[in-house]
Subunit: 302 residues, 4 copies
């Protein structure tokens, strides 16, 4: 990155995830100014060389401002609010929203940016702070091609996988597809693990083999362990997964795409909820599968 002219970037929101992403930019050679509602959280980044802004308005000196906040309301507030990025006379060229927000909030912010002549990119990230720090995250962005091209090199500093999904809200659809896929893999894993188990193979050995094979993935490693330990402490509960399947099958209906396995898994998630696991992790798909195979005794009932 040494030969690129140094560019002035802004970062809004330095929670756990925002901080590791911003740190990656600093390490990648960016001239970064950061702002956070609670200023204390910006200290570690200041130590790494970031300037700290006293107000959101100060961030507008940057040509590109990245936003990483918690909720749809936060996003609306920091962009379109009175004290927001679009609230003053000076505005950044491009706003890149890395938050996971509702489609409605995203569309509202996109429209406000368009009116203000500011480029907008929705660029949610997949992975947790630990994975981002290890270089194992992925970013899916959507917005106009020229906006994407304008900031892609910085996104690539943060994440080894950066994908431009389309000119509008496609990044949201991609994240829903990701979660449909994740739900289907989980049910598939529940079925084969149960089959192996009833055939005399210990679940742990089975999942170790799958993970050593070409099918292995970080996801299967984690979710497989939850199944083996029958630990349904929620990382993402069945109601949340059902919500994503509602959205995904709704999108499939609108776009006229038949989804036979997705639809089957949607109903199995509902069955899992009906059996009392609404608030448990969706790894409980395995519990319902195992019980239907006659594997569990009454004492293990939820």
């Amino acid at each position: 990155m040494n030969d690129t002219p140094v560019e002035r970037l802004g970062w809004l929101g330095t929670g756990a995830m925002g901080s590791v992403m911003a740190a990656a930019l600093i390490k990648g050679g960016a001239d970064l100014t950061v702002w956070n509602r609670t200023t204390a959280k910006t200290a570690p980044l200041a130590d790494q060389g970031a300037a700290v802004a006293g107000s959101i308005a100060e961030l507008t000196k940057a040509s590109v401002v990245f936003v990483m906040v918690s909720t749809s309301a936060d996003l609306l507030s920091v962009v379109t609010g009175e004290q927001g990025l679009l609230g003053g006379e000076r505005r950044p060229e491009v706003i890149v929203d890395c938050s996971t927000v509702s489609a409605e909030a995203s569309a509202e912010v996109r429209a406000a940016c368009a009116e203000a002549g500011v480029g907008f990119l929705a660029a949610p990230i997949s992975g947790n702070p630990h994975m981002v720090a290890d270089g194992r995250s992925a970013i899916v962005a959507s917005g106009p091609g020229e906006t994407f091209d304008r900031v892609a090199r910085w996104l690539r500093v943060i994440s080894p996988t950066v994908v431009h999904a389309g000119p509008g809200e496609q990044s949201r659809l991609v994240k829903i597809c990701h979660n449909l896929f994740l739900g289907m893999i989980t049910q598939a894993l529940a079925e084969v693990t149960t089959l192996a188990e009833k055939g005399g193979v210990t679940p742990a050995a089975f999942i170790d083999f799958i993970n050593g094979s070409v099918l292995g993935s970080t996801f299967i490693r984690h979710k497989g362990r939850a199944m083996v330990e029958r630990d349904y402490t929620p990382t993402f509960n069945n109601k949340m997964l059902r919500k994503d399947f509602d959205l995904g099958l709704g999108a499939a209906r609108s776009l006229e795409v038949p989804m036979p396995v997705s639809a089957a898994v949607h109903q199995l998630i509902q069955t899992t909820i009906g059996h009392g696991f609404a608030e448990q992790d969706y790894a409980a798909l395995y519990e319902v599968e195992a019980r239907a195979a006659g594997l569990r005794g009454a004492e293990s009932d939820a």
Copy 2:
């Protein structure tokens, strides 16, 4: 491995896969004698330090003999045949079969070994020669615990993932479960890729994102590329995959395990065959999905 006392091992079958596995044993410090029907194919291993046997009988000086042959008939011939490993007076302590053979052949060889007082381990490997050489393969073994313990350290020299699935033919069930899982992941990927595509996302970008995410795997990388390129040149065709689903659902029926998604995918493979893709790669599940979504024109019909 330097501190382990050198053990005399035998290797029977030095085709493409057998050769990389045998080479790994040599590199791992084994005193290895190899035999192959076509002697010329043993030359590269001889260059790496292997002794070359003139007959199968000579291999029986080894305490453990690994077998890697192409077919069930070959396995029966080299083990139970007149000139086979059990045919003479001297016999190895343990035979480890790494071939992918029928359950019937495996059981017949297992019984013959038992009668002859020779330990037998079925230890099929997942991966191709390239992956074995790169240390990205996995071995699932089944047979008596003490037999497994006797040879596990050598299996671990070949493959980073070595799993003991059970005392009998469980390794066969595990490989079938692996292939059921692989078929389900393929259909799931076909559905979400089609949905993303109809929503305006290019399939290549979508699959890149999935592979950069926690869900990414070697398998998805390869099968996703086949979908993107709509290249159905068979690596494993739909009839072969249907066969594994026949076996898998048959096992599930015997063991009384309901498999809702496996059963749905079984029928979708049959649908794919009905649409003319019997001899094509099972990546064609995507083609049938895409057409059902109205994505393909008549000119692309098989």
Copy 3:
């Protein structure tokens, strides 16, 4: 009916269906006054003994007024419109709506009746005019128990099957359930007919046997004939059936009822639409099934 004191009834809407229903009431001993926008259509009923009203207002002399109109807008107009049943000073005690209208319109009319102190019953009928005349129709009503009891004897004069589904809009849910069931039976029939056909049984013989068995029904007789003749002239097209499945699975989602087979059929209807049968009768589920079984040549493509 001779011993029941004669009651004054009104009938609003004398199209094909309304006329046979009203005629049944006359035959059943009712003192019936009828009204229709196009007065000419009331003539046959007048011949059978009905009085003909000159305005909707005249109908309000009746204690119970039945309504059978074509659309939601018509229902709103004839009940809540200025010249409607609730528009003047005199009102009937009970309004029975036999039309098939939207849930929204039904709820709006129900609320208006409640406010006006008029009992309201939603009582859609299943069957066509021919079947009503033959005594082979069914009525599912919902509304307060006392309102149902007040008019049940007249509904029974029209139809041998009269069911009280609940106090609110349950009759609407029942009709959706009816259509889900009808879609599932159609796909099931498509599967077994195709299986029999590939096994050498002519579809006509197969369907004749089914209809002679305990499973036989008026529906299977008609839909089976359409399959045998591969006649997909729409009686109800795939888009209409998909709409009912959208509503049904939406209701199931709200009520948290897993519907595995309904969901599978929903996706198969979408597949049928994707193959070009959107505007054809849903008997085309059979065509898609037969093709997936490799039964149809290219010359028969839609």
Copy 4:
């Protein structure tokens, strides 16, 4: 039937079902001779005018002999046994087997008849003795066209629905298809009844409406009542139905017919068995559906 020349018929097996079928032939004008292992059971038919044979050999004076026995072994014994219909010098022209036997037994008898120059028709009947007496049964026959034509008029005396399914063992496939259809209708009914129930409709009212509609059938009337009463006293248990689905999906696999809904229901039957209902009536599909919808309390567990 008065103008048809009287033909000499034989009836072998006068249990509950055989007796009502034989009685129908007598009423239809046949000159009937009957035989039963326990002679006493032939008395009521003798009263109606049948001659009673002292041995199976005596039946061979008849040109056509109908067989209605309980098991495959019985069929083999009475046809191919030493004292059987093919055992002596005189043989009937045609044997019509109305029993429900295995495909193997049927094929063995068919081959023996062919060798002996005797026509053979497999002609199982659908319905119970009560329904046969009421003229509500159905017969599906398979065998050579000329054999069918030779005896069709007598089959039509027994049953209003007589279908010729094909020249070989097709009648067996048709009965399996019938049972697949029956299983699918049951699951479909379980889903919609549960949905209606959770929406506030009493199951009894819902099923009454369905039965009054075009979808109504004798089967739904009976199975619906079992669901309403949650009475799973077996008429046909889940293991029996699973067996028919095993056979049906096996046939579909051989004939290469995808059966998405049949396969889904097969897995749901397995799930029902896994939940403890193996020996209960398959109406228990409703119980498992209702529980998955959260409708049942723990106290109602099987």
